[in-house]
Symmetry: C2
Subunit: 341 residues, 2 copies
């Protein structure tokens, strides 16, 4: 198992990505290819005393795509950008999966242009895990497909269902369409048009509309939504979780001596909970619908998040999620064509 | 100050609404008119020993609109429904504000049909307060204007700004457009079309796009969004806050004896925080854009939430928010017409 890591695109620089990769090699026994500036990669590898590790290779790339560049223009013009070179390694079969913490837009474009879409998938979707009361909920799309067409949401539903089954080991995962009410008649133009299509898809266990609160109450395993809505929800959730934990700290610190002692005593329990809520623990989001495993991390990822993302990449590749998606998408479209006849 | 209360539409029945009203009269010194089944109202008033209170009147209404009825059809056909009768009291000037915990759809329709829209407002918006790290953020629309046109979002921005200024005492409130990135070029078709319009509105302090996390981090005072997005965000936030508090409890209870002692010691601090996060404390959402103060509460509101909502209704009426909105909307549209010439 060999994972390509674009080491150039993160808020904290190659330092965290290289360390994350070094730790992943130890933890998962996989091989990695660090894609980016060779001199920089070597420098950090030697600092981490990993420059002699035979499981770690470097592939030089002379260019970088930054967060503020136009994704499509940058990917097309910078042929030697780290994300482009890494994507080509993936397409050529030299690597089994790819991890990036650079511009999400550039990564998505590189995935489509250099790796290619699965047959029948019009637009790849970003699937993110959100902790719920009973485990984990997969939310997709969380930022790639803005102004989605109903067919995009249907494809997301099929792909998200495969993800939950293959990677979270949920049998016949419950799929919900995110809306403003449970009834089929509640929603916006987009969800109203999508609901009847989802009802017809035999490849998923469609449970109907779900509401915002169902994302965390364990009512369903996969929540399908437009990329605009998913992105807002995801960022709002991160902000709210952080705000609540901060407010708890403030409440305890301003609550007198007993509260302070109490706060000290619950520290280990709170640390465990913080870990459960920490996006870094979930190891990045999966770009579903491309021909090979593609993982997109937060720009603010540190080494731990990168290591976890590489772990997810290994699982993603080992479990043949891509072939399962290819199969299910083909099946679902065949059924649709038959029904249409 | 006289507030009309539709006592028929809540998950818990008139019991909670009547108690909430009785307590509000004590707390705020206002008068109330209980609108609904007279016998039921009398029964509860006598149980609460408030049947002789001269500040509490009853207005009989023989019909009720339930949650599962089609709002527009129900409002038009049930002339003697409690929400319709209450709305007419408001229009006729017999009451200064209205509080409802029934079907949001029916309340919105009754507001438009029986009370009327402010001149220039195409669709009224529901404004909700969300606690943030630095205070409170007003989010609108939170469920009324699904598939909003850019002009609806512009009007929401003006109305939300007046709300923050008049009721939350924020001078020149910062207004953000909810999107998937801060740059003007990031967003969906709706927000991309709205951004340039908002830049031109002199009546608001427009700070550009904001992201999901900005709702709780205190970056802005008013967040403008489509009703679908706002509704999903609001319900997701309630679910997530509840989930986090539950997970904290579980973590503490499963954390051994020291954690349990710690949990007991921080109870008062946590109770304070829970109160701050409790939607019931915020006293319902404001329907902005109708000709008189109109408050919509959660269907699951209990007495405390109703009392708080009546408090907000009193403030809403006392501060002449409706005339301020009428003025600002007229001003903003005059400017637009001038620019267009």
């Amino acid at each position: 198992m060999k994972i390509a890591i674009d080491i150039m695109g993160t808020d904290y620089g190659p330092k965290e990505l290289v360390l994350g990769a070094v730790n992943a090699v130890k933890e998962f026994g996989c091989e990695v290819v660090l894609v980016g500036d060779e001199a920089v990669a070597k420098e950090w590898l030697s600092k981490y005393k990993a420059d002699q590790n035979p499981k770690i290779k470097i592939k030089h790339a002379s260019e970088v795509i930054t967060m503020d560049e136009h994704p499509a223009i940058a990917v097309k013009s910078k042929k030697d950008a780290s994300i482009v070179v890494a994507s080509k390694l993936l397409r050529g079969g030299e690597c089994d999966a790819l991890v990036s913490a650079g511009s999400t837009g550039a990564a998505s474009v590189a995935a489509v242009l250099c790796v290619g879409r699965i047959k029948g998938v019009e637009r790849p979707a970003i699937a993110t895990c959100i902790p719920s009361l009973t485990g984990t909920t997969v939310v997709l799309d969380s930022g790639s497909i803005v102004d989605a067409k109903p067919m995009n949401l249907v494809q997301s539903a099929v792909m998200g269902s495969v993800y939950a089954e293959k990677l979270l080991n949920i049998k016949s995962p419950k799929v919900g369409l995110l809306s403003v009410g449970e009834e089929e008649t509640k929603g916006n133009e987009q969800t109203l048009a999508t609901y009847p299509l989802l009802k017809k898809v035999k490849q998923i266990n469609f449970m109907g509309n779900v509401e915002g609160r169902d994302i965390t109450n364990g009512a369903c395993d996969v929540v399908v939504c437009d990329g605009f809505v998913g992105n807002v929800v995801l960022k709002f959730g991160e902000g709210l979780a952080k705000a609540i934990l901060t407010l708890i700290k403030e409440a305890i610190l301003s609550g007198g001596i007993l509260a302070k002692i109490g706060g000290a005593l619950i520290k280990p329990a709170m640390a465990k909970l913080k870990k459960r809520l920490d996006p870094a623990e979930y190891g990045g989001a999966l770009l579903l619908g491309v021909k090979a495993p593609f993982i997109i991390c937060h720009g603010s990822s540190k080494a731990k998040a990168i290591t976890n993302a590489i772990g997810v990449a290994v699982k993603f590749a080992e479990n043949n999620v891509v072939s399962a998606i290819t199969e299910k998408i083909a099946e679902s479209q065949k059924r649709n064509e038959e029904t249409d006849k």
